[in-house]
């Protein structure tokens, strides 16, 4: 049929566009990271394939790239674990125990997602200075946990609400406490939801920029996005090769997570949004 052929053509064209659109900058990043002369597109130098930039960022301590990466991984992992635990507790309470005030709390959580980050940063900066936490992991982990909690709670509420109440009742009759029920009955059944929540929290924390920019001052707590954003050469020129190599290395963990858990992430994102 004519229409079917047109549709197939359209599908093919959109697929091609999607792949090029999504991958081109990423491929460009990889290509430059392997080139000895990042300005080769001007036609005045050759490509000069090399792994030198990767060696440089990993073995040059003064670039602090490994420090940034370690900070990012540690801060994001701890934030994700803590926020998922807190969200699971809250989501259990919100879906299972019909407490007065729970609608208010859900509404409050929704409001929190409306706040621009800039409206928190002045007060948080003073708070962190007062606590003496500037340039420590604490200055990032506490705000990150709070920042990703609304999304985590929404996702987990939507997962927990689907589980039959009979699970709880049977366990209650067996003499379990609520905490035991959550840990031994609900958590195993809701594992896919908990995994999506933890993954999304990790990626969100890893992506965060503004807090990390203001609350850290050097390699002891600075995260990878800030490190790469502020990467400068010694003499004012921009070390493109090193920047691109550092970008590739630091996004590898994220891409592995995104590809390996594609289904979980997509499900988590949709639940978080459609619910809201």
């Amino acid at each position: 049929m004519n229409e079917e052929r047109m549709q197939r053509l359209l599908t093919l064209a959109t697929s091609g566009f999607l792949i090029v659109f999504c991958l081109a900058p990423f491929v460009f990043m990889a290509v430059i990271s392997l080139s000895g002369s990042p300005e080769f597109l001007s036609g005045q130098t050759a490509f000069n394939a090399t792994f030198g930039h990767y060696r440089a960022i990993i073995t040059t301590p003064s670039l602090h790239f490994i420090d940034y990466l370690r900070n990012s991984l540690a801060v994001s992992a701890v934030s994700a674990a803590v926020s998922t635990l807190i969200a699971a507790l809250a989501a259990y309470s919100l879906t299972r125990l019909e407490l007065p005030g729970r609608v208010l709390i859900l509404f409050l959580i929704l409001c929190v997602t409306m706040f621009p980050q800039i409206s928190l940063i002045g007060f948080l900066f003073k708070l962190m200075t007062w606590l003496g936490w500037i340039n420590t992991y604490g200055a990032l982990i506490f705000p990150y946990v709070a920042w990703v909690l609304p999304l985590s709670v929404w996702i987990l509420v939507s997962y927990f609400a689907q589980l039959p109440r009979e699970l709880d009742k049977a366990a209650l009759i067996d003499g379990c406490t609520r905490w035991q029920i959550l840990r031994k009955v609900i958590a195993p059944v809701a594992l896919p939801g908990i995994l999506s929540t933890a993954l999304l929290s990790f990626i969100f924390a890893f992506n965060e920029f503004m807090f990390a920019l203001l609350f850290t001052t050097d390699h002891r707590a600075r995260t990878v996005p800030v490190g790469i954003a502020l990467f400068q050469g010694l003499h004012g020129e921009i070390p493109w090769g090193n920047i691109m190599a550092a970008s590739i290395v630091s996004i590898v963990p994220l891409l592995i997570l995104a590809v390996a858990f594609q289904r979980h992430i997509i499900q988590g994102l949709t639940r978080g949004a459609v619910k809201g």
Binding site: I32, A90, Q117, P150, P225, I228, A273
Partner: protein
């Protein structure tokens, strides 16, 4: 609703306590603090002084503030519809049973997963005047005789920010819309096909109306998010050239950075109020559209 014993209540609220403490200390308290600070003169090393609306009066006379506001609103008005269109076409594609659908879905997740500050550096190189990919492609395909000064001109910088932001955030829209598409029963399409409705007719009569609630949710999320754009601009244009791409978030950030907390807070409050008003409009819109159907 059933009654609760005291111990049940205590247990239930204790489960909620960590959430309330975290949100209270690190989100609600800071927001209230920002509102309060916005009516003070609060500059590092100076005495804190209550000045009521003087910060806001200063905003009204501040040409740089108006430029940041204009840029931010213009950015939302251009980028959100563009991203919606792209996102919708991606979602329609991903919803079909095309070969390699898993691969396409992975591709879509890649821009979303990469931090904007990191991909921003790559975009900075792509837009480089002398050896960037953008000008290289334009010259190679003969689309432009002269290289374009992407980051050095106001219009070029605006286009650069919009394009890079579309790359990063279109996937999110595509994923949300995909969820909305996947619950539309395929029966409807089959029936319409039998009745001889063509592709466009099916799109306008089935897809668009049934997808409308999801579209509004995606619009709401994207609008709120685009209003507070910061990371990408900080890295890609630093708000330049000459302040042409300074967003409200970046403008406010600069005041916090130099220690003028009072004025920075009044900028933050303004941005917050704009976000709130737009959110309310969307909620109204969605209620209105459900009443109609």
């Amino acid at each position: 609703m059933r009654g609760h014993t005291l111990s049940e209540l205590r247990e239930g609220y204790s489960f909620m306590l960590p959430l309330i403490v975290f949100l209270g200390c690190f989100v609600l308290l800071p927001v209230v603090g920002t509102f309060v600070t916005s009516v003070y003169q609060d500059v590092t090393f100076l005495e804190r002084k209550f000045i009521l609306f003087q910060n806001y009066r200063r905003l009204i006379g501040d040409a740089d503030f108006w430029r940041a506001l204009r840029f931010t609103l213009l950015f939302v008005a251009v980028s959100v519809p563009l991203e919606m269109l792209l996102g919708l076409s991606f979602a329609l594609l991903l919803n079909q049973s095309v070969p390699l659908r898993g691969l396409l879905r992975c591709c879509v997740l890649i821009p979303w997963a990469i931090p904007a500050a990191i991909s921003g550096r790559t975009w900075e190189l792509i837009y480089n005047y002398n050896y960037g990919l953008a000008n290289f492609l334009l010259a190679r395909f003969g689309l432009s005789d002269e290289p374009i000064n992407w980051l050095g001109s106001s219009a070029g910088a605006f286009a650069s920010v919009v394009l890079s932001d579309a790359w990063k955030t279109t996937p999110f829209i595509a994923i949300i819309l995909l969820a909305g598409l996947s619950v539309i029963p395929s029966e409807l399409y089959r029936q319409a096909k039998v009745d001889g409705a063509n592709f466009l007719y099916r799109f306008y009569r089935i897809t668009v109306p049934l997808l409308k609630p999801t579209i509004i949710v995606a619009l709401l999320f994207r609008t709120i998010d685009a209003l507070r754009i910061f990371d990408l601009i900080y890295v890609l244009t630093h708000g330049g050239p000459g302040g042409a791409t300074t967003s409200l978030s970046l403008y406010g950030y600069r005041y916090f950075l130099v220690g003028d907390f009072g004025y920075g807070s009044s900028i933050s409050v303004t941005l917050f109020v704009i976000a709130l008003v737009l959110a309310l409009i969307y909620v109204r819109l969605s209620r209105w559209s459900t009443e109609l159907t």
